[in-house]
């Protein structure tokens, strides 16, 4: 059985630190005259994207190419059953092509989990439904560590649509593993009912939490939530849960502002906050490539993966 990265919970503390340390080395490569490593020469990485996400796809593509892997982009928009080939048949196709790693983005929670029981290669979850997005959490942790130092004991506030956010889920799990103290902030409608069982604090009051935060991560408000009665109006959401200049001023001096992108400027984050020197939003993009290089190297760079978890079919 092979090992995969499907949930941030698949990483032990040692695994997570190994990824972050490896990402640090990978980041150096970007500043060299030759931004490429021969490490994954002859390996094939398939980017299997069932959802449009240019940002994530090119990040994984750049990561794989910098490691000299052969990259095959396979975009299959729409649901697999209603619009053609089933996920299983696609998996068998990838298997026949000899994919060593499959990076999958899918609208259905659990699709990477299913895929892992049908392919021999390592599966990397690049976002599944409203479940998880572990490499986003890794790049966020990497960004925080570069700015703030070690994460143990650091206070991280994540604000927004926790209920539907795979970024929030993965961050809560990874940051808890790394010993950070996470507080989730959202209107009550945007928390899962069982959020109390998660390894974090929750709050409905952003202003109360901000002065105690070392990092604030703003989540994107999805268009479809705006019309589904999760909150009365976008304006009210923005007023109560948006990070505007006034709230920004209440953050401690050293605190950083993060966003996984793409942003709704003026909704969850004000433009001047997004563009401030304490915003890591652009850095997060660059760090995404380093973190994903680290994941691909540690999964595919040896006779067997150094991180991740086996999945029983």
């Amino acid at each position: 059985m092979n090992r995969h990265l499907i949930s941030a919970a698949d990483l032990s503390r040692d695994d997570a630190l190994l990824v972050l340390d490896t990402a640090e080395e990978m980041a150096q490569v970007a500043s060299r005259s030759v931004k490429k490593l021969p490490t994954l020469r002859g390996r094939t990485v398939v980017n299997l994207f069932y959802e449009d996400s240019t940002r994530t796809r090119i990040s994984f593509e750049a990561a794989a190419k910098r490691l000299s892997a052969d990259v095959i982009n396979f975009s299959a928009k729409g649901s697999s059953v209603s619009k053609g080939e089933s996920l299983k048949d696609t998996a068998l196709t990838l298997e026949a092509m000899g994919a060593d790693g499959v990076v999958i983005r899918h609208g259905a929670s659990g699709a990477p989990h299913r895929l892992s029981s049908w392919v021999r290669g390592s599966v990397v979850n690049a976002g599944d439904g409203t479940h998880e997005h572990p490499t986003q959490a890794l790049l966020d942790a990497f960004t925080m560590r570069r700015r703030l130092g070690e994460l143990a004991g650091r206070r991280v506030t994540i604000v927004g649509d926790v209920l539907h956010s795979r970024v929030a889920r993965s961050n809560v799990l990874l940051l808890a593993t790394l010993g950070a103290e996470v507080t989730l902030v959202a209107p009550p409608t945007l928390f899962p009912v069982a959020v109390g069982t998660w390894p974090c604090e929750i709050s409905y009051d952003l202003d109360a939490v901000l002065p105690k935060s070392d990092a604030v991560m703003m989540l994107r408000v999805q268009q479809e939530r705006m019309n589904a009665a999760y909150f009365p109006t976008v304006r009210e959401y923005s007023r109560r849960y948006g990070l505007d200049a006034e709230r920004f001023a209440r953050l401690p001096e050293h605190a950083i502002v993060m966003h996984p992108g793409p942003m709704n400027r003026g909704v969850e984050i004000a433009a001047e906050v997004a563009d401030s020197v304490r915003s890591t939003i652009v850095e997060q993009v660059a760090n995404g490539v380093s973190a994903r290089m680290a994941v691909l190297y540690l999964l595919l760079g040896g006779s067997e993966p150094a991180i991740g978890k086996e999945v029983s079919p």
Partner: protein
């Protein structure tokens, strides 16, 4: 046959997790190692005509320690600091697929860079030559040195590639069955080179 012993693998952990031979023999001791490094420093200065453009790059892990010592020895003679740094060859190795994915060491060339410099690669043991081959590839991705030279504390023979050292602390004829372990105070608490018999 234990691959970790066939190849000194300075970056890998495997070498140090295997129990050493029950009766290893010390072939070099602290003062021998010190003298060897001093001699190599003098040879570098002689061969590079004062070492004006010399940059030392230690191969992870013990090569880095030796590079730092060499830089200090050079400074003692010349009275000026010598740039030195580290290079990790893990991602350039030709045996990556033979072991689980490994943790990486630091690659940190000195701020002066390596372009147009005379780079002296420093490693503890020269054996098959595969680590040096990987280091040459890694170095090529860092920049374009004017020349590359190789300094090693021990050359134990059995080359598998057309590679030779420019500076050798000690030539140590060995059989394939023997193991060579370099211990350095900074890494291991004491200075010693041990020759042992591979456990069967």
């Amino acid at each position: 046959m234990n691959a970790a012993f066939r190849d000194p693998d300075p970056g890998g952990a495997a070498e140090r997790t295997v129990d050493p031979d029950p009766r290893p023999k010390a072939v070099l001791e602290g003062p021998d190692i010190r003298r060897a490094m001093t001699r190599i420093a003098h040879e570098i200065l002689e061969r590079t005509k004062g070492g004006a453009d010399v940059v030392l790059l230690g191969v992870q892990t013990r090569g880095v320690t030796l590079a730092a010592r060499l830089a200090a020895a050079l400074q003692e003679v010349e009275g000026r600091p010598f740039p030195w740094g580290s290079i990790d060859v893990t991602m350039y190795r030709d045996d990556l697929r033979m072991k689980p994915a490994r943790a990486l060491g630091r690659t940190e060339p000195p701020p002066e860079g390596v372009d147009d410099r005379v780079v002296v690669l420093v490693d503890d043991v020269l054996f098959s030559g595969r680590t040096v081959r990987a280091a040459l590839d890694a170095l090529g991705d860092l920049g374009r040195p004017r020349a590359v030279q190789l300094a090693v504390l021990v050359d134990r023979g059995h080359r598998e590639l057309p590679i030779r050292a420019d500076y050798v602390g000690k030539n140590l004829p060995t059989s394939m069955r023997e193991t060579v372990r370099v211990l350095l105070a900074e890494n291991d608490g004491r200075d010693e080179v041990l020759l042992g018999e591979e456990a069967r």
